[in-house]
Amino acid sequence: MITLEDQIARVADEAESQLDADPAVVRTGDRRSWRPRLLIAATVVLVGGAAISLPSVVRDEPEGTTTPLSEDVGPGPRPLVPNVPTVVADPDERWIVPAELPDGVEFESAVDYGIAITGSLAPSRSLRFADSMSDASVTVYTNLWPIDEPGDDAESSFVEVGNERWMLVTSPVDDRPPVITLGLEDASATFGDDFDSVVVTVTELDQRTVVDIASSLTVRSAADLPRPPLELAGADDGAEVVAEATQSGVPKRLVARTDGINFAMSVDGAGGSPVRLGARYVAVDGGLGPNPNLVLGGRTAESLIWGLVHPDVATVAVELTDGTLVESEPQDLRGFNEDFFLIAFPTSTEGGLERLSAVVAFDATGGELGRDDSLGR
C-alpha cells in the first residue's frame, strides 16, 4: 500500500478528473423525459416604439470597457466587462460616509431608496462595504432605522461616540462572530438637518471597530462615492426597461439601473437590494406574489420572479417544489452585458412564492449551468 500522503494525491487526481469530465455543467440526464414540464411561454410584449431613451450622460467611463476578452477562458462563466453606468451622481447630494474602514474592506454599492420607506422628507439610503477575502462587511444606513427590538439573545447598551449617545446592539449568529449595530436616532445635530438617523452595522468585526467607523463618519458629496448611487425606481422615473412578461394576464416590466457593477431592479416599483452577477450564472433579485384580488375560489394566479443571468445562459427556468420547470428565455431590451429574467409561474396561495424551489440556468444543450435557491423553499 502506498503512503497516506500519496493516497491523498490520488484522491485529488480523481477529484480533478471528475471535475474535468463535468466542468460547470451538471448533466442531469434526460431531464426532459422524466420531469413533468409545464412550459409557459413568458409572453414578451414589445411595447411598440417604446425603447426608453435616456441621455447617455455618465459619471465616468471605466477603462477598458471596449477591450475584448481573451477567447480562451476555460470552464466557468467568462468574466463580464463592467457596464457603462446608467445612473449619475448629483454633486449637490450629501451622503454620510465613513472616512476610515478596516483594511481590505472596500466599497460595494450605494443605494437611494427614496422617501417612501420612512415617510419623512429625508431619503433613506444605504452604503455597503465588504471584504472580498472574508465575511467582514460594513453597512451604513441613513434615515433608515433597521434596528428591531433586540431579541432575547441580543445585548443592547449605549455608548458615547463623539458627543452623542449611540445605541449598541450585539446579535449572536450561531457559531459566527455576532452582528454589531450602532445607531444614532437623531443625527441632525451632528450631520445636519438633511439627516434623521444613521446606523452602522458590521459583520465579522468587533465592537471597537464599529465605534471607530462611526467616529469617522463624515458628510460628503455623492460625486465623491467610488460609484454613483443606485436608485430603486420605476419605468416612469426613467429607469431602463430590460425585460417584460405577463403576470395573471397583466403586463409587467422589469426595469434596471446600474452603477457599472451592481444592478438595482424593480417591477412596478417593487425592488430589492443591489444585485451583482459576479461570476455566477444566475442571481435572483426578487419576487412578487399574485394580486390577492385575482385569487378567486381555487383559480390559479401567478407570481413573478426576476434577476440576472450570464449571457451564456440559453434558458432560465423556475423550478417548483414538485419538480415542474417553468422556462423562459433571458431578455435584455437595453443592451447590458448581463441578461435578465422576468418569469411568471403558477401559484395557488396569496403568499406567492411557496411553490418556488430554485431558479435554474441552462445552456443551449440543456445542461445545467447554475442555480439560485435564495428565495426557494
Binding site: M1, I2, T3, L4, E5, D6, Q7, I8, A9, R10, V11, A12, E14, A15, E16, Q18, L19, D22, P23, A24, T67, S70, D72, G74, P75, G76, P77, P79, L80, P82, S132, M133, S134, D135, G278, A279, R280, A358, G370, R371, D373, S374
Partner: protein, 161 residues
C-alpha cells in the same frame, strides 16, 4: 516588480491571460478541498472574475495565486447554497486504486482548516508558504494543521502508513 506568479505591473494582456489560465487550473484542484467539488467551479469563476477586476492589485502581490484562492473560497462561502455536505468527489463510491476505501469520507470529515491544509500540501503539492498565504495563517500553523490532519486520518483509517 514581478510577482512569484510572473505578473508585473507592466504585464501585457497576453501575459495576464496566461497567468489567469494557469491560475484557473491550479485553483480548480486546490479549491475542491476547501469548498467541495459541487462548488469548485463557482469558486474558481469568482476568483477569476476578481482577478480581471483587480489586475493592477494582483501585480503588486507576492503570492497572487494564494490570494485568489482566498477570494474564491470566501465568496462561495458567503452565498447561501443548497449544498449541505461537502463532497470531494461527484461519485463518492469511486474505487481509486491503492487508496483506502475510507479515505475520501475521512478527508471530508476533517475540520475545514485541517482538510484545507492537508489537501493543499499533499493533494496539490503547495508549499507551506503558499498555503500560509491562502489560509492567512503562519507557515508553522500550516505545519500543525497538516500534522494533526494526517494523525486524525491515520487514526480514522487504522493505518500507520
Amino acid at each position: 516588480m514581478t510577482t512569484a506568479g510572473g505578473l508585473s505591473s507592466a504585464s501585457t494582456d497576453a501575459a495576464f491571460d496566461e497567468f489567469v489560465a494557469d491560475a484557473r487550473q491550479r485553483l480548480r484542484r486546490a479549491l475542491i478541498g476547501a469548498v467541495g467539488i459541487d462548488r469548485t467551479d463557482d469558486a474558481v469563476a469568482e476568483a477569476v472574475a476578481w482577478a480581471f477586476e483587480h489586475r493592477d492589485e494582483l501585480a503588486e502581490m507576492k503570492n497572487p495565486l494564494g490570494y485568489l484562492y482566498r477570494v474564491g473560497q470566501s465568496r462561495v462561502r458567503r452565498r447561501r447554497s443548497p449544498v449541505t455536505r461537502l463532497r470531494l468527489l461527484h461519485d463518492e463510491s469511486t474505487q481509486i486504486p491503492d487508496v483506502e476505501p475510507g479515505l475520501v469520507p475521512a478527508l471530508s470529515s476533517l475540520s475545514p482548516s485541517q482538510r484545507t491544509a492537508v489537501w493543499l500540501a499533499h493533494g496539490c503539492q503547495w508549499s507551506h508558504a503558499e498555503i500560509a498565504t491562502a489560509m492567512d495563517i503562519t507557515p508553522s500553523t500550516v505545519a500543525t494543521h497538516v500534522r494533526r490532519g494526517l494523525e486524525h486520518l491515520r487514526n480514522e483509517l487504522g493505518v500507520s502508513l
